[in-house]
Symmetry: C2
Subunit: 343 residues, 2 copies
């Protein structure tokens, strides 16, 4: 059996109607809803076929049909193809550039949540290559040295190092020069034991400090890995009956609190994917607790190789059109925002 044009039209109509009403769709509704001018009986026959093909499901005998995951997939694929041509932008979704990056990302998450009424997430961008850009030691007080570590993409971290004895200005200067000349431009993998030993030797009696600084650098670069995730609109899930029964809601809320779970959504295929927008429907989701949800994600990219992810999570019965539009809009705004002047 094939999916001919009429079946396609009927399937589209069923899904469209279900997205709007949330109720199982009956044959009579379709008979009137479409311009096919077919009787409900004919529709019924076609629906039986569509069910056999796996696109729609009957929740129980004598109820209308609802889309299966496969049905949604078909619908979304068709829609994405449609969208490919028009590069429409939602005019009313306007992200303002904020002073602080974290404020802006939080803002982006919120904007998407308010606009779509779904739960949203935004990950902080991280550099594909974690390279040390700049290192600065300074004496804070007699027993503390402040180490400022800047890695590629202007991610800045600070560490306070305790020292037994105060160091004079000259020593500080020497250490700074030593560290910067040898370490700048290196990634954490490149800072190996041989290099460290060589540096320690050159530093003489200040070897232990070098060691501590390098530890801090490694720590800092690594720490950037457990990346920050901003979420918003979590409580939107209560707006959708299919998600708001206690067990499901609890699991979802938990996933949003334990942001760690959300990292599974982060796409690690390199950017070759043509800046694709990804849609996970129901069972396709990589996160177990979101089997009843659909997830739409996209990567954004700052000028200097920093990449992050934005995502919207809602019920399978989701306004895919709007969600994809919103994601696209926010993505493109983030993409261009830091293109010219960095931070």
């Amino acid at each position: 059996m094939e999916l001919d044009e009429r079946k396609t039209k009927i399937l589209q109509a069923i899904i469209k109607n279900y997205l709007e009403t949330g109720e199982p769709v009956g044959s009579r509704t379709i008979s009137k809803y479409t311009d096919l001018n077919l009787s409900s009986a004919t529709i019924r026959n076609e629906m039986a076929d569509l069910e056999e093909l796996g696109f729609i499901i009957q929740p129980h005998t004598s109820a209308g049909r609802i889309p299966s995951d496969k049905g949604y997939r078909f619908y979304v694929d068709a829609m994405m193809l449609e969208h490919e041509k028009e590069v429409e932008q939602l005019k009313d979704v306007l992200l303002e550039k904020e002073e602080k990056l974290d404020h802006m990302l939080k803002q982006a998450a919120k904007l998407m949540a308010v606009n779509t009424n779904y739960a949203t997430m935004v990950t902080a961008p991280r550099s594909s290559r974690n390279v040390l850009k700049f290192l600065q030691l300074s004496r804070m007080d007699a027993s503390h040295i402040l180490a400022v570590i800047v890695i590629e993409g202007n991610v800045i971290k600070n560490t306070v190092i305790e020292v037994a004895e105060s160091l004079n200005d000259e020593t500080m200067l020497k250490l700074n020069i030593l560290l910067n000349t040898h370490l700048n431009g290196l990634s954490v993998e490149e800072i190996n034991l041989g290099l460290i030993t060589a540096l320690k030797q050159q530093a003489g009696m200040y070897g232990p400090i070098i060691e501590e600084v390098i530890d801090a650098v490694a720590e800092t670069i690594k720490e950037d890995e457990d990346l920050e995730i901003y979420t918003s609109g979590t409580n939107n899930i209560f707006k959708y009956p299919e998600l708001s029964d206690n067990q499901k809601a609890s699991d979802l809320i938990n996933a949003f609190e334990e942001k760690q779970l959300l990292t599974q959504l982060i796409d690690d295929t390199d950017s070759e994917g043509r800046n694709e927008i990804k849609v996970y429907i129901g069972e396709e989701s990589p996160i177990q607790t979101m089997k009843d949800c659909s997830i739409v994600t996209a990567n954004y990219e700052f000028g200097d190789g920093m990449r992050g992810m934005i995502g919207i999570i809602g019920p399978k019965r989701m306004d895919y059109d709007k969600v994809v539009g919103t994601i696209k809009t926010i993505k493109s705004q983030l993409d261009t925002m830091y293109k010219k002047d960095d931070n």
Copy 2:
């Protein structure tokens, strides 16, 4: 009518029983539960009195009684008085000192949540006096200066300042000395326009940079105000039927996401309050959406005048004993953790 000893005993028994079962408590239950050896009829009379006094409530005719807010208040006050003597510590709630402060606070929130099965929050500590401790400008690359700002309590912030032309080492040194000698030890209020003008004059052609740095300092100190709040166990609210109906759950989840709302819980009475533990019951809560909850909070204090808050939020029918114990334990651990060696 007075609250004599017998009434007190009965009231305590009612509340205790209700805390355990969650069901309205009937007269017969009390008649057997207590060692008063009174018939249910007598208890009924007493209960009618207690209701008249406002300590208990009948959800509907022909149901048992449940405590009113006033009843809970009575119970908690009595309990707190009891606790005053014993300074027991929960042995099994052990907070490990983490490298990073934010990790540790997150950990504290989680620990409390796991231990009590309620939702918890921990605010980052902030200094009562926001004083500039140390300032460091360094040249990051030709057109960017990195300003590192350390305020009292070793809160460190970074800002990148864009400059038109590259500055040489000597100028940088001069600016650093100029800024540090004049600004260190000052609070944001003390950095007034007169001082700024004087500094700008001394800096000559670099006046604009001075201005930007000072702006950044002001910004940084102010920004520390919109403080961070770590939450955990949010989804625990689903464990309590009285909170998990959709509207209430949604509101609560929202309050935990919009952490801003939680700031209302932060106690601004100065520490004179003898390190008191605060209990807000139902209507006493300063947060509208938590009228069906009880909230237990306490302030913790790091050695150097940094203060933060920990709190537990659960249903009114809460295990107050355990919650207060947990709060006390975590508080005292936080209190002592940074007493000797700071950060």
